[in-house]
């Protein structure tokens, strides 16, 4: 994971979450992971392609997803319905887009794929080939893990 990529993702996640949730967001300690990792329940994936390739995964449990979607839509949502799914996808899009914009400014050119949302129990994600950077974010509605696995195209 190239050092220059780390900050844009951390900053974008912090900025966007603070703004849309209108509350304090705390960043946990970053760490690296390469083995299979369990997914908490709701995961939005945004792919990156171009000079840099990889993917960004936003991982949270169902409760957190519904609460965040409720705040963002300013209405009380209770289950993972289409609106919640669309909201979480949009959140993933906003964060990744802001990070990519920052990276563009630094001279790294690449594009995003539309976010895909996956929900379910007992899921795991494995990317054996790439080491992932985990950025844990704590919000009053629960924690979100941002899992960035990108590498230079070799």
């Amino acid at each position: 994971m190239r050092v220059e990529y780390i900050n844009p993702f951390v900053e974008a996640a912090y900025n966007v979450l603070t703004e849309v949730l209108a509350t304090d967001v705390k960043r946990g300690n970053l760490f690296l992971k390469s083995a299979t990792k369990p997914v908490m329940g709701v995961a939005a994936i945004v792919g990156l392609a171009g000079e840099v390739e990889g993917r960004v995964l936003f991982d949270m449990n169902k409760q957190t997803a519904t609460k965040i979607a409720s705040v963002m839509n300013m209405e009380e949502l209770t289950e993972i319905d289409d609106l919640v799914k669309a909201t979480i996808s949009e959140l993933a899009n906003m964060i990744t887009a802001q990070a990519v914009t920052k990276l563009h400014e630094l001279g790294f050119k690449f594009d995003l794929t539309p976010p895909a949302l996956i929900t379910g129990d007992n899921m795991e994600i494995s990317d054996q080939e790439v080491e992932a950077l985990i950025v844990p974010m704590d919000t009053p509605h629960g924690s979100i893990e941002i899992n960035v696995a990108v590498r230079e195209r070799s």
Partner: protein
């Protein structure tokens, strides 16, 4: 009484003979009887003088040509840490050729006996006391004609590529035929002197420093010095605190770490290196704050200026590596010859964009995979000794795979590598190895 038991025994044998539905090839390993399901066995033969394959685990004897098919030959005795008589190269070994789902391979055993048939129902589940082989590789035990056969589960043993390597750590160390890999994983075995073992344990606990063949020479020598100096001060040589472990390790650090290399250092290192390829990949794991990587960039800039080179530097300390891309230098840190590579910024001296563009700094854990495939120079000073001993072995194997013949490996001044693939060409403070 005796006739009665004979009768029942005879009856039982007759019963078993009546339904022979399982046959196996029986053979011996270190005096014990083993069997393998005959359906897994393709043939048995005698062969020898196998072609050795570099960079394989010790239990791989090499490859053999089986009527045009190249098959790997594995020594089951080495694999399971059993004693094996060493035969000279020319002599013939007993080979059982196995046909598994995905591969055909040969295993070397002591003697091959016969085909034994019996009823599948008479196989009993394995019991830990039955042999020197890990229970998960045994599918059962069977008694036949007064002998006890241990039936090996060859699919388990050879099915998954990861499994064989693990058998080493699961076996009891100190077997007579302790292989090289075992010796590395258990450096605190019987052959390590007791005081060295004590010191090694404390260094591991306090300094995250792991004794291995790489640094054992230095640790032993340092221990002698340490004992002397502690005696003069009237102290016991044992390390009891963190700062003592740090003091012990103080002299381990290579000269020039944590700052830019001097012009003489760069000159003496570059004299040892020569590259034929026009574009070079340099790998610098454990680069810390980046001084080493920048020093390397200046070495290439001054000595190999015609080459296109890229330095991949990484560290798992986020704080250090984050500052590396825009390292700020004090004026007195930069020797005169290096001035031309720096620019003055409002925060202080920095390297110019030419140098910066040559280095990619990565936040990376060495225990994870990395995408580099072909590397010409690896500079990994005072890093490997601080990994866990099995990880050290793994990383060195990875380096051996990634570096092409003719490529170089630079270790810490006090680290030594004994490996048939690497030739030591280092001198002075440089511990440099060239791949053969």
């Amino acid at each position: 009484m005796s006739t009665n038991t004979d009768l029942t025994k005879g009856q039982k044998d007759a019963d078993r003979l009546a339904k022979i539905d399982f046959k196996m090839i029986s053979f011996t390993l270190a005096g014990k009887d083993y069997g393998i399901d005959i359906l897994k066995v393709k043939e048995i033969r005698k062969a020898g003088n196998f072609t050795k394959v570099p960079n394989t685990p010790v239990f791989v004897r090499g490859v053999d040509n089986l009527r045009g098919d190249i098959i790997p030959i594995i020594d089951l005795r080495t694999m399971f840490n059993l004693p094996a008589e060493t035969k000279d190269k020319e002599s013939q070994e007993n080979i059982v050729i196995l046909r598994l789902e995905s591969l055909v391979l040969g295993i070397v055993v002591d003697t091959i006996e016969k085909v034994v048939g019996f009823s599948f129902g008479s196989i009993q589940p394995p019991h830990p006391i039955f042999g020197d082989i890990n229970i998960k590789y045994i599918s059962g035990v069977v008694e036949n004609a007064g002998r006890l056969y241990i039936i090996l589960d060859v699919d388990r043993i050879f099915g998954e590529p990861e499994e064989p390597a693990e058998t080493h750590s699961e076996n009891v160390p100190g077997q007579p035929e302790a292989s090289a890999a075992v010796a590395v994983e258990a450096p605190q075995g019987a052959e390590v002197p007791l005081d060295l073992q004590f010191v090694a344990e404390t260094l591991q606990a306090f300094g995250q420093f792991h004794l291995s063949p790489l640094n054992r020479g230095w640790v032993s020598a340092r221990l002698e010095d340490w004992k002397k100096s502690r005696k003069e001060r009237g102290l016991d040589f044992q390390l009891t605190q963190k700062d003592e472990a740090e003091e012990f390790l103080l002299k381990f650090a290579s000269p020039g770490s944590g700052r830019l290399w001097s012009a003489e250092d760069v000159a003496s290192l570059s004299e040892l290196l020569s590259f034929s390829s026009p574009s070079l990949t340099v790998w610098n794991p454990g680069c810390g704050r980046g001084y080493e990587s920048y020093s390397l960039a200046m070495l290439f800039q001054t000595r190999f200026s015609g080459k296109a080179y890229k330095i991949w530097a990484s560290d798992n300390d986020l704080l250090s590596i984050s500052t590396a891309p825009s390292l700020i230098l004090d004026d007195d840190e930069v020797e005169l010859p290096w001035r031309e590579f720096t620019v003055q910024t409002k925060n202080g001296l920095q390297f110019n964009s030419d140098i910066k563009a040559r280095i990619v700094f990565e936040f990376h854990d060495l225990n994870h995979l990395n995408p580099l495939s072909e590397v010409h120079l690896v500079v990994v000073r005072d890093v490997i000794s601080f990994l866990r001993t099995p990880d050290q072995e793994k990383l060195l194997t990875e380096i051996s795979e990634k570096v092409r013949p003719g490529g170089y490996l630079v270790l810490g001044t006090n680290e030594r590598l004994e490996h048939p693939e690497w030739k030591s060409i280092g001198q002075g403070t440089w511990s440099v190895y060239q791949k053969i």
